[in-house]
Assembly symmetry: none
Homo-oligomer: 359 residues x 2
DNA sequence: CAGGCATCTGAATCCTTGT
DNA sequence: GACAAGGATTCAGATGCCT
């Protein structure tokens, strides 16, 4: 029997073999991502981005990272009960290495969860898409093994909506973010408690033992304590351990609000860009729009969903402002020819139809 | 030179080696993820049919899939131009195998996109979270290689907001879904055209050659045709090929001019040396510039269009870097007095006026 | 005290061209 | 290919100051 609710000092690959096997109900692991950043990044305003360049995130190559991954996953699997489960979080830099090795080690993936960040860092140079999500893998110890899933808990708010594999949550910041006296982040990659709240509530029972082999500043322990689960952390760094211990000691026995569990329906957060009508084929590049219900100015739709009108190029709103001379909602101003009827139809009507289609 | 816009019959692993190397701009691949592992394992009630936990059995299956993946990825990489790129779509069943092998083959992941389905198939039994997303990987042919990304086009598509890595789109259904006379789906995993629209618009140029090694019912070809790109499909199944050909033939040839298909890119505009503003008489040697919109450091313009500031001499960019500490675009930093109005005006505005004049 | 405006920051594999 | 130089580039949310 493991003595729970404490932080063990050291590398999980050496600590884990000293623990009894088949004694842990859930592993939550936030391993190094192997980010490999090689230069400074500046925001457009000239400030520099605080990079994740910690020593613990440095690996020589993929082979070294794979070896590390295989070792800690193997060690975790040994201490897991047969009906225990494991969560790992990562990004494209590492998650595919982890996922493949996980499968090789006979873990059985139950779900992939995509954590959609409401407030990610933008791509400042405009050279890629904003990296706005991270990936969590939830896996049973082996194929066919039993596992814990509290369907009733996650559906308690609203049938269906909260059970999806996309979780929309802000990144960890504000008062929740642990900071040193000088304002510096204690840990460069602290996870939000809301994320762990969902994980722990949905896939463990009260009293279960939750192990975090990369404890960091102890988000897993904090939420476990809040939710009446036992926990065990392993962490190499003494400063992280101190911060985590202090944080967890200060946790009152209050619960986080239930609404932290609610996953907003993507249909609810839709702000449909005009471009979606093109992507859906409801309109095509080259089509002509008319300004106003009766004969008005004509505009040609371009492939990027901007309009071309009288030598100007801009969004439906920009061109509408131009023509109207004042603030204007392009959705109400522009009309297309309906392909089905040949009648003039407002692009707003087309948007409504798209909304219907997405249900 | 490959003859484009046609469907080649056969297995891409045998067809691809017959094509010339370094001839393709983009690969979009929707590979099968029919791991034997996933068949005949669970009864409808969730019990295990054949709970073989034979390590070798499993390994053999993953190994077979890995071998297949390595083969088609290697073959695709050969036909890719050095600055070409590759997209793959998959789910947690296969995407981690693909992602890891991709990296092993020295592809360089640029983004992971998570396609959030507005209307996924619910998990009726409530034993897991509803799988509401699929994953796309976008990778350059190698680390540090150039690649195509039309930042402004996708920004325009998204109402002037930078496009993120989470794409919220409905699954393919309705009129778009190809169906046989009996109403049966022609292809079980037909992808929505909206997905390909975003991929193709953002990461290819008009006229580029797009290869789809698992063509299926030809969504890639259909959208490529709509957007004025060339395409090449490889497909084993004759029924899929027939459906794809018919579908694509029904799409009218795009005759949009290049400028309607592409979005103007400020990075591609002709450079105007600062000295031109002096030559044009918009500024004069001896004039004073101010650093920043509000009162900042002063600099004197010299006859050779360099600036003199605090005993240093250099270009608008060099002096800006000096004052600002970090990379800096001098055009945005320096302000002059407008001779016409006496107001402070950005030298960038003056440059814009010059550009207008030169049209 | 409310509201407005400026500032700061977050797991980021973040430039392009000419010499 | 290395190097120097030009110059393009950001979103949401929290915090704090000022009026």
């Amino acid at each position: 029997m493991i003595s729970p609710n404490r932080i063990l000092a050291g590398d999980c690959r050496t600590i884990l073999p000293t623990l009894p096997e088949a004694s842990v109900d859930l592993v939550f692991a936030d391993p190094p991502y192997n980010l490999q950043l090689h230069q400074d990044l500046h925001r457009p305003n000239g400030t520099i981005v605080n990079a994740v360049d910690d020593a613990w995130d440095q690996f020589a190559d993929f082979a070294a990272y794979d070896k590390f991954t295989r070792e800690w996953l193997t060690a975790c699997r040994r201490v897991l009960k047969p009906d225990g489960a494991l969560w790992v979080i990562g990004t494209y830099h590492n998650i595919h290495r982890v996922g493949a090795i996980l499968q090789d080690l006979h873990f059985w993936i139950l779900n992939e969860i995509t954590w959609i960040k409401t407030n990610p860092m933008p791509n400042f140079r405009g050279v890629r898409f904003t990296n706005a999500h991270e990936t969590l893998l939830w896996a049973a110890r082996s194929r066919g093994a039993r596992y814990t899933f509290h369907h009733h808990a996650v559906k308690s708010l609203n049938e269906q909506l909260q059970m999806r594999s996309d979780w929309v949550l802000p990144v960890c910041g504000g008062k929740e973010r642990l900071r040193a006296n000088d304002g510096a982040k204690v840990h460069s990659t602290q996870k939000p408690e809301a994320l762990l709240y969902r994980v722990i509530l949905s896939t463990t029972n009260p009293g279960d033992l939750i192990l975090d082999p990369f404890f960091g500043t102890g988000t897993t322990g904090a939420v476990a304590k809040r939710l009446g689960r036992r926990w065990l952390g392993i962490e190499k760094d003494a400063a992280y351990r101190r911060a985590a211990q202090k944080r967890i000691d200060a946790i009152p026995e209050t619960r986080l609000p239930e609404e932290d569990l609610a996953t907003p329906d993507p249909r609810k957060r839709e702000r449909i860009p005009f471009g979606r009508l093109l992507e859906e084929g409801m309109l095509s590049a080259g089509d002509t729009l008319t300004f106003g219900e009766r004969d008005g100015a004509k505009a040609r739709i371009l492939a990027d969903a901007s309009l071309s009108c009288k030598g100007k190029r801009g969004s439906i709103h920009q061109i509408a402002r131009l023509l109207h001379g004042g603030p204007s909602n392009g959705w109400d101003r522009w009309f297309a020819l309906d392909r089905r009827t040949g009648e003039r139809i407002s692009i707003n009507r087309l948007r409504e139809e798209l909304r219907e289609k997405e249900k």
